[in-house]
Amino acid sequence: MRVSLEVSLISMGSTANNITTEENTTRAPGEEHDDSLDDGSDGEAWVFYRERKEWADITPVPQDDGPHAVVKIAYTDPFTDVYDYLRAVVVKGELSERALYLTEDAINMNAANYTVWQYRRKILRHLGSDLEQELNFCREMIEMNPKNYQVWHHRRVIVEWLGDGSKELKLTEIIFSQDAKNYHAWEHRQWALKTFKLYDRELDYVDLLLEEDVRNNSAWNQRHFTISQTTGFTKEVIQREVEYTKAAIAKVVDNESPWSYLRGVVQHCEGSLASVGDLWEWCQKMHDEGQCSPHLLTFMLDLMEDRMERQPDLRPTLLKRCLEICESLATKYDRIRREYWRYIERNLSHRFGA
């Protein structure tokens, strides 16, 4: 059976947007499609550019797929109409209001077409357009396509042109209210915080997010970022953060994020891992009370490994303990990673054995 490479991309989701293709990837699985926009079947009927009097002076330029098209896309008629006119004005080098309007239609049909966004920015600059209005347009596009790279990049450029980051925290908070882990939004927020020095209330905001979801790894990362850019990890800050993290762990012990964060915070200490407060006793107490989360056990392994590095005389006792913990992880508490724990047993024995 011959395999044809003609691929219908109408069913492709927004994941393809993540690789910044120029193909028509209009919606993600489950995302509602605005039918009124491209085929006129619902709501307002689509008026083809080729039928608009104000565009009568333009001859549309069809797409040239060559004699043997590959990964041929089943474009809708409205899509073809818009992009034929877009090509025509690009060839003309037209940088007008109507071209700007045309880019809006082109973007609505494929928000991942990075060339259209570049053309739009050329027009905006040429016309000296109202950038506050552009920020509004950008916000709408971000809300409709929160995981699209081009909308966030466009936002950053417009904000840079304006030199005003006052709306960026609010924008990202709106996105976080729908998806508190949106990577693009976190990247944008960090950029805005750094560029416009807006750190004042950031730790409070992180607290709020962690109140809502103590498992939000992005919020924990943001905490580390904020502190590193403001006070830094001084002795007092380390102590404060250790207590904060211990409280979060007390809420939900089996949660990877605060354990990672704890490790990250104490790494800023100059002394040994266990020198920060009573970490070893605190772990031991939880273990004695029957707590067997793999994160607790792994942390105890790390504390013991650190101690074995620094105090060779303690190695025989601690190694025995470590191997027992690895065994319990491999056979009982973290069986999915049994091959890894076997490796750790071999590794520790090799490094600290007799």
Binding site: V3, A16, T115, Q118, N216, S218, F225
Partner: protein
């Protein structure tokens, strides 16, 4: 172009390329080359070289085109990588690749901090395009265009407190960016010299901890997603630690995302399949060596067979040329 690469490499791993006859293969090769931008000798023009993502603007170059066209009709680093990968998969000898122009395009996209943009027309810069740059340099065997010192610095600066890499400094550690970082270091031949034993151990631990309910997640406390079978799996393979995963459970998860009616693999079970997840799911399964799939090279994400063809091209080039390529 990226969609073509998913389709071709996916077919290759499924040992299905023979379904394309010689004529059809040549048509595809010609189509790929038709998307190559052929600038003049002007260095500035060459910065816009490389391969296009598709035919949107392909018909716009001509006598009547203007500055706007040449400013917008630029190569895109991901499309250049996927074009070259697709050509190799199809058995092409890359003789029609405008090497100096492609290398000028890659060089022009590097930022002072070591990372890469995707296209001259303006884009974000992050670890994804770093990987594409490294892959292009490896394929064309020419690393002179990029500053490998600043690239390595960017990668190490992207290692967060979690022990894995984010898209950039201070950003959250992520399976996709960790793959791009480690594959880049591997392709540049700098993996062993760049990571200390402790850093390597912590990274392996982070990667292995991504296994959740059989599948692999991209970040802690996120649901498992098929494509991380490749991003996380390939990173572990490069680090020699793939066997630390429960490979049977991973395989079961990936196969559970198949659509029984249309075929293809999706992000999650019971959701719509798409080209990206289908290809990366297959590529991830290939790493596990449990299904009847051709082995994949984790660093370039093409079959080992395609990689052998590439290595043969490298041998032929160094035998025949008197100047470095």
């Amino acid at each position: 172009m990226a969609v073509l690469y998913f389709a071709l490499s996916g077919l290759d791993l499924l040992d299905g390329l023979s379904e394309l006859d010689k004529e059809e293969r040549q048509h595809i090769i010609n189509w790929i080359y038709s998307l190559q931008i052929l600038p003049g000798n002007d260095r500035d023009e060459q910065a816009c070289a490389g391969f296009r993502g598709g035919t949107t603007l392909a018909s716009c170059r001509g006598e009547s085109s203007c500055d706007t066209v040449s400013q917008l009709d630029c190569g895109h680093i991901t499309m250049t990588y996927t074009a070259l990968a697709s050509l190799i998969i199809l058995g092409d000898d890359l003789s029609r690749v405008e090497r100096p122009a492609v290398m000028a395009h890659v060089a022009a996209l590097q930022c002072p901090d070591g990372s890469f943009f995707s296209t001259r027309g303006g884009s974000e810069n992050d670890m994804r395009f770093m990987y594409c740059a490294a892959a292009i340099c490896y394929i064309l065997q020419d690393f002179s265009a990029i500053n490998t010192t600043s690239a390595t610095k960017y990668i190490l600066n992207s290692m967060s407190y979690e022990g894995a890499m984010g898209q950039g400094t201070h950003l959250e550690a992520h399976g996709g960016s960790s793959y791009c970082a480690i594959a880049t270091l591997h392709l540049l031949g700098k993996l062993d010299s760049s990571l200390s034993r402790t850093q390597r151990e912590r990274l392996v631990r982070w990667l292995v901890e991504r296994q959740s309910g059989g599948g692999l997640q991209g970040r802690p406390n996120k649901p498992p997603d098929t494509c991380y079978a490749f991003w996380i799996g390939a990173t572990l393979q490069i680090l020699g630690a793939l066997d630390y995963l429960d490979t049977a459970a991973l395989r079961q998860f990936v196969l559970s995302t198949q659509d029984p009616i249309t075929g293809g693999l999706a992000k999650y079970p019971n959701s719509n399949p798409d080209g990206l997840h289908t290809y990366l799911g297959i590529s991830g399964l290939s790493l596990l060596r449990k299904d009847n799939l051709k082995p994949v090279d984790p660093a370039l994400n093409i079959s080992q067979q395609a990689l052998s063809h590439l290595h043969q091209l490298h041998k032929n080039i160094s035998k025949n040329s008197t100047v470095p390529c």
